[in-house]
C-alpha cells in the first residue's frame, strides 16, 4: 500500500524519515488499519495523548508502516472509548491496555481489559498521562489481584518466576503452566519498571529531553538518542551537518556490534559453553574501551544530541577504529567456526524456541527476531536515511525462526556492521558536527524512526510553546516481540527458557516506560 492509496487527507512531515500524518474518524480508523494489514503493512506503535487543553479531546494515535514509509493516524476521541484494532493487529493488545491505564480511554470490544502498566501504586480512576494529573507526587496505593489465566488438568502445575530473576537481568514476572518439564503455557506480567518516563518528558525542554531519551533502554541508548534527535529536528525543520549524520551511523553500528557480541557470548554460556562468554565479552570490552577513549562514554550515552553529535573523531581515531575492525573481523570469524562446529551447542540451538514465519507475520514480530523468522524488515535497507542511503545495507534474514536462526542473524549482522563501519570511516565527510537548533513552534509534530540493534525504535513528538515537550511517546520493538516469546516457548522444556529468552533479549525498561 502506498500513501496515494489512502482516501483521507495526509500531510507529509518534514525530516529525515518518510512519514505522513492525518486525522481520521472512527470508521476510517478501522478501515485503514484493515487495508494496511491486507497489503502486508505493520503496526509500529499505538499510543494516546491528552489534547483537551487544545480543544481536541483525547487523541489515539497509530503509526503504520506501508511501502512508502510511515503513516501516523490520529483518531480524536470525544468520550472515553474508541474502536479496538487488536483483531487486525494483535500487537495492539498490550498497547491498548497500557493506553487505558495511562490515559483512561479504552478500546471498545477488546476482550482483555486487565490493567497492564498499572499495578497497585495508583488508583484505577486516575490517569498519569492526563494533563490534570500531578505526576510529581506519590498516589494512594490501590491493591489489586492480577487474574492470570490458569491451565487446569491432570499433572499441570504452575511455576511463578520473578519479578526478581536469578540472573543479572531486568525484573518481570513469568507464569509457566507446565506438565512435567514441558511448557503448556507462558503468561508474562510486565510493568515492574514503570517509572513514569512519558510523564517526565512533559516537564522537559526539547534540549533536556535528549538525556532522558538516552536512558529509556540503556542498551539502546544510541538508537533512542538518534530517534529522539530525529523527531526534534523534524519538528524544527532542520537537518544536521552531513558529518554528524555519518558519525551517528558509526555510533549506531558500534552499539549493534557491542550488543550482538555480548548476546553471542551469553547464548553460548546459556547452552553450556562458558568459553564463548569469555571470548565474546572480551571482544565487547575492547569495543567499549575504545568507545570511552574516542567518544567519551563506554556505551556512547549522550553522544547524539538534537542538531548533531557531541563527539568528533580525528584522523588518529579513524585509523585506530579501522585497525580494531580488522582484529574484530578475524576474531569473530574464528569464533563463528567454533560455534558452527560445536555439536553440543548446535543441539541446544537448533529447534529451540521456534517462531514460524506464519506466526511471526500474524502477530507482528519485528526487528532482529523478526528477521530470523523471515520478516524482512530493516529500516536501514528499506527506508534508509542519510548516510544509509549510500551504504547499500544488506539485510540478514533466516527462515527457521529458532534460537539457531537468531544466532545466525546476529553473526551475519555483526559482519555487515563491520563492513558498514569500514565504509563510514573511509568516507566520513568533513565539516561541522552540530548545527544550532532553530526555535521550534508549539503544537508541531515530529517523528524519529531508527533501526536499533533490537529492532525499530520509534519516537513521536508533539511540541508545546517555548521549546517544550507537550507529549512524547518512545516505542520499543520489545512491545511487539514480548508476546511472541509466550508462543516461542510452547512445547519446549523449562530449562530451555533462559536460552530462548536470551535469544530474543527484549527490553523491560523500554517497554515498561
Amino acid at each position: 500500500m502506498r500513501v496515494e492509496d489512502f482516501d483521507i487527507e495526509l500531510s507529509p512531515l518534514p525530516g529525515a524519515t518518510p512519514v505522513w500524518h492525518g486525522s481520521v474518524d472512527a470508521g476510517a480508523w478501522r478501515r485503514l488499519c484493515e487495508q494496511v494489514r491486507a497489503k502486508g503493512g505493520r503496526l509500529v506503535a499505538l499510543w494516546g495523548s491528552d489534547q483537551r487543553e487544545l480543544g481536541r479531546g483525547f487523541g489515539v494515535h497509530a503509526a503504520l508502516v506501508i511501502r512508502s514509509g510511515l503513516v501516523w493516524l490520529t483518531l480524536p476521541v470525544g468520550g472515553t472509548d474508541y474502536p479496538d484494532i487488536s483483531d487486525i493487529f494483535p500487537a495492539a493488545q498490550r498497547m491498548q491496555r497500557a493506553l487505558a491505564d495511562l490515559l483512561g480511554i479504552r478500546a471498545r470490544g477488546q476482550q482483555d481489559q486487565r490493567s497492564w502498566l498499572r499495578h497497585d501504586t495508583w488508583p484505577a480512576d486516575r490517569y498519569p498521562l492526563r494533563k490534570d494529573f500531578d505526576g510529581s507526587k506519590p498516589q494512594p496505593a490501590a491493591p489489586q489481584v492480577y487474574p492470570f489465566v490458569s491451565v487446569e488438568g491432570d499433572g499441570v502445575h504452575e511455576i511463578a518466576v520473578g519479578p526478581v530473576h536469578a540472573g543479572t537481568i531486568e525484573p518481570g514476572h513469568f507464569r509457566f503452566s507446565v506438565i512435567g518439564e514441558r511448557i503448556l503455557r507462558l503468561e508474562e506480567r510486565l510493568g515492574y519498571k514503570h517509572k513514569g518516563i512519558e510523564k517526565r518528558f512533559e516537564s522537559m525542554t526539547l534540549t533536556d529531553g535528549a538525556r532522558l531519551a538516552g536512558r529509556i533502554s540503556g542498551d539502546s541508548t544510541v538508537a533512542y538518542a538518534w530517534a529522539y534527535a530525529m523527531a526534534v529536528e523534524s519538528a524544527a525543520r532542520m537537518t544536521p551537518p552531513e558529518r554528524a549524520l555519518w558519525l551517528r551511523a558509526l555510533l549506531l553500528e558500534r552499539e549493534r556490534l557491542a550488543n550482538h557480541l555480548g548476546d553471542l557470548g551469553f547464548l553460548g554460556n546459556d547452552a553450556g559453553l562458558a568459553f564463548g562468554l569469555a571470548q565474546f565479552t572480551r571482544l565487547k570490552e575492547d569495543l567499549l574501551r575504545s568507545n570511552a577513549e574516542l567518544f567519551g562514554h563506554r556505551y556512547l550515552m549522550d553522544s547524539i544530541v538534537p542538531g548533531g553529535v557531541a563527539a568528533d573523531l580525528d584522523a588518529g581515531g579513524v585509523a585506530r577504529l579501522l585497525a580494531e575492525l580488522d582484529r574484530l573481523a578475524q576474531a569473530v570469524a574464528d569464533l563463528r567456526h567454533i560455534y558452527d562446529d560445536h555439536a553440543g551447542l548446535q543441539d541446544r540451538f537448533i529447534g529451540a524456541g521456534s517462531v514460524t514465519p506464519e506466526l511471526a507475520v500474524r502477530l507482528g514480530l519485528c526487528g532482529l527476531a523478526g528477521r530470523a523468522s523471515a520478516q524482512a524488515w530493516d529500516l536501514r535497507a528499506q527506508f534508509p536515511v542519510s548516510p544509509y542511503d549510500r551504504l547499500d545495507v544488506q539485510m540478514a534474514t533466516h527462515r527457521n525462526g529458532d534460537v539457531a536462526a537468531r544466532v545466525i542473524v546476529r553473526f551475519d549482522e555483526v559482519g555487515e556492521s563491520l563492513r558498514l563501519c569500514r565504509r563510514i570511516l573511509g568516507a566520513l565527510p568533513a565539516g561541522r558536527i552540530t548545527s544550532a537548533l532553530p526555535e521550534v513552534p508549539g503544537d508541531t509534530l515530529g517523528v524519529g524512526w531508527v533501526e536499533g540493534w533490537r529492532g525499530e525504535v520509534f519516537v513521536a513528538l508533539e511540541t508545546a510553546t517555548g521549546g517544550r515537550i507537550r507529549r512524547l511517546h518512545p516505542h520499543d520493538p520489545s512491545w511487539q516481540n514480548w508476546p511472541l516469546l509466550e508462543h516461542a516457548v510452547l512445547g519446549n522444556i523449562v530449562p530451555d527458557f533462559p536460552l530462548i529468552n536470551k535469544s530474543f533479549n527484549l527490553s523491560y525498561s523500554g517497554h515498561d516506560l
Binding site: G135, P138, P171, G191, H194, R215, I216, T221, S509
Partner: protein, 178 residues
Amino acid sequence: MYKIIYQIIKTGIRTEPPPVSDEALRLTAQRLQKEVLDRFQGALAIRHVDAGSCNGCELEIHALTNPYYNLEGLGIHFVASPRHADLLLVTGPVSRHMEVALKRTYEAVPEPKLVVAVGDCGCTGGIFGESYASCGRIANVIPVDVAVPGCPPTPTRLMQGILTAIGSEREDRAAAQR
C-alpha cells in the same frame, strides 16, 4: 575441540594482573582480594537486584565478569538467590512497582548483610527523580551501605564500591566490639 583449545591458547590470559602499578583497576583488584580473603574467607556472594534501572548499569555489572575484570577470579560471585547472598548490588531508581519486591529481597538476605546502591539513579534518583511511579534513590526504600555514582559506573568504580562496603562493615564491627 582442538579449535577451542587453540583459541584459548591464542587468546592467553587477559585478566589484568593485580599489583604494582598504580593503575586504578589493578590496585583495586589486589586490595579487594585481600579484603575478601580476610573477611569472608575467600568468598563473597552478591545478589543483584534491578529495582527499575534503564538497564545501563546491568551492562556494567555483566562486564565485571568478563576476562579483563574477572571478578569471579577474586572469589566474588553472583548468586541466584538472596538467601545465598552477603551483599545486595541494587540498581535504580526504585520504581514503585518494585518497592515491595526490593524490600522482600532485602529481608531474605541473612545477617550480616551489605547493600551497594549502583549508579546515579540508585544514589539520587537521577534523571527519573521521585514521582507517582518512582521512589527515587535506593536509600529511600532499604538501608544502603555504599553508593556508587556514575551513569553507568564503570566496572572499576563498581569494584571500588564493593571494596568500600566490605571495609565499612569491618569498621562497624570493630566499633561495636570496642
